[in-house]
């Protein structure tokens, strides 16, 4: 069941299996994701959707007692690269494949510094460039107008929806090519969730987006395609 590999396939996953302790969480998953499209990952909880997301940015490597086999390739500047190749630097991968978690997780610092944080990690020193990129990212995340006068406030003071948009801005500031969203609206109320949905739709031109979602309505509104997970396998 090899993934149909079109010209516009951004991510190619081959024979991916994932184990946590002795449990096989993902079983030989083969799937591809199209560029500049929103793909929804659906299925019952515990089916391996969130785990699948973190195999795409290798974040699982920080989790003890986890193990993975298989191949993940992502097309960067026209070329497929095996992201598990030794020569592929991990920080670079994570800057190109951004991720937003289920619960907003702003770091304990100001709004501005939260968004500037990834730039700092990447070694950007030029203050002008930093402030320009922070504004751009906040703007793309529909947050600039709400926070432009309080950038130095602690991010914890923002509402839940604002915090989540802040996290999206923080993921966008490095200008990633892929964005992984793990149930981005499930901790928010409906109206805050709608704002995030609009925001996600506005991003898809430039980004390949994978979103885990439990809400059928949301999937209908957002996704170009959906992939169903069940007991660690992909069902077509």
């Amino acid at each position: 069941m090899n993934p149909v590999s079109h010209e516009n396939t951004k991510i190619r996953v081959t024979d991916l299996s994932f184990f946590y302790r002795e449990r096989e969480v993902l079983k030989k998953v083969n799937v591809g994701f199209a560029e500049s499209k929103i793909t929804a990952l659906i299925g019952p909880s515990g089916a391996g959707k969130s785990t699948f997301l973190i195999t795409l940015n290798r974040l699982w490597e920080s989790i003890p007692e986890a193990r993975m086999t298989g191949k993940v390739e992502i097309k960067f500047s026209g070329m497929y690269r095996d992201i598990y190749e030794k020569s592929f630097p991990l920080p670079t991968l994570r800057r190109r494949v951004g991720m937003v978690f289920q619960t907003p997780n702003p770091l304990p610092m100001s709004i501005y510094r939260n968004v500037a944080f990834p730039l700092k990690l990447a070694g950007e020193k030029d203050r002008k460039i930093i402030s320009q990129k922070v504004e751009e990212a906040l703007d793309r995340a529909y947050l600039w107008d709400e926070v432009k006068d309080r950038l130095n406030e602690d991010a914890i003071n923002l509402s839940g929806g604002q915090q989540q948009r802040l996290c999206i801005a923080r993921a966008l500031v490095m200008e990633p090519e892929v964005l992984l969203l793990d149930e981005p609206t499930s901790s928010l109320d409906d109206s805050a969730g709608r704002v995030i949905e609009d925001l996600i739709l506005s991003l898809k031109e430039k980004l390949t987006i994978l979103v885990v979602s439990h809400y059928l309505e949301q999937v209908k509104r957002l996704a170009d395609k959906s992939i169903r997970f069940s007991e660690g396998s992909v069902i077509n």
Partner: protein
Amino acid sequence: MLDRVVIAFSWISAVIIVGAVCAIFGHIILNGAGTIKLSLIFGDVAPLDALLLKRQVLNGLFPAVIGTLLLILISVMWAVPLGLGTGIYLAEYAGAISKKIFNLFFDILAGIPSIVIGLFGFALAIFLHKNVSNNIGPCLLISSMALAFLVLPYIIRTTQVALEELPREMRLTALALGATRLQNIRHVLLPRALSGITTGVILAIGRCAEDTAVILLTGVVAMAGIPHSLMGSYEALPFYIYYISSQYTSPEELLTGYGASLILLVLCIGLFSAAFLIQKRLTYITLYRA
């Protein structure tokens, strides 16, 4: 019936322990409070002269206080970088097996009686005396190193536990943003673990201030004045108290012993209260992990 016995037993135990605490504090405070004057510290020398080291204090606690402060400072200078590095390694880098082995080692280190660590310091001094230089003997340097070994487990454990207790989401946040392991430690994890680490350092300071057995074997003496170098002998408050308790020649001298006890007691209680204030959940289970 059983209910009443258990309740009575609990109350009696609590009353006994409260009584003991009151007796200890009361005895020291009642006898020591009257001695708390500037002359207890500085003797007949003007405080400013003593502080500027213009004149030597011969009949006050000044040299002992300075000795204890120097001891704390130098010991902590050894122990903090080493303990911090070790704690970070254990929490963030070590594999499961090496972590187990290291944990066992530091459990043993935490349990080694201070007199044995003192004996080690003493043996080290003899060794260095024989093999390196005749000028080395028991001294401030050796004492501070031995004390650093004594308090090292406190710093290692509090650092390690403070880091390990951080929630997994916080651990992953910066990594997902492209932080390297070291950047994650430096910018996110260490700042979050700071209060735990501070607690460990304060406890370590308290241990350095109160320990008598280590310094007894490694260079403390009754009369040395202000230490002139790391290679010299020195005085210290806890040793002074011990010395007075067995060698006092007059009631006045004994009273200075009470004065010294009160100062040391207040210092140590202050440090421990601060540690417990910073970290309310400072449990003994974290300090003595099974």
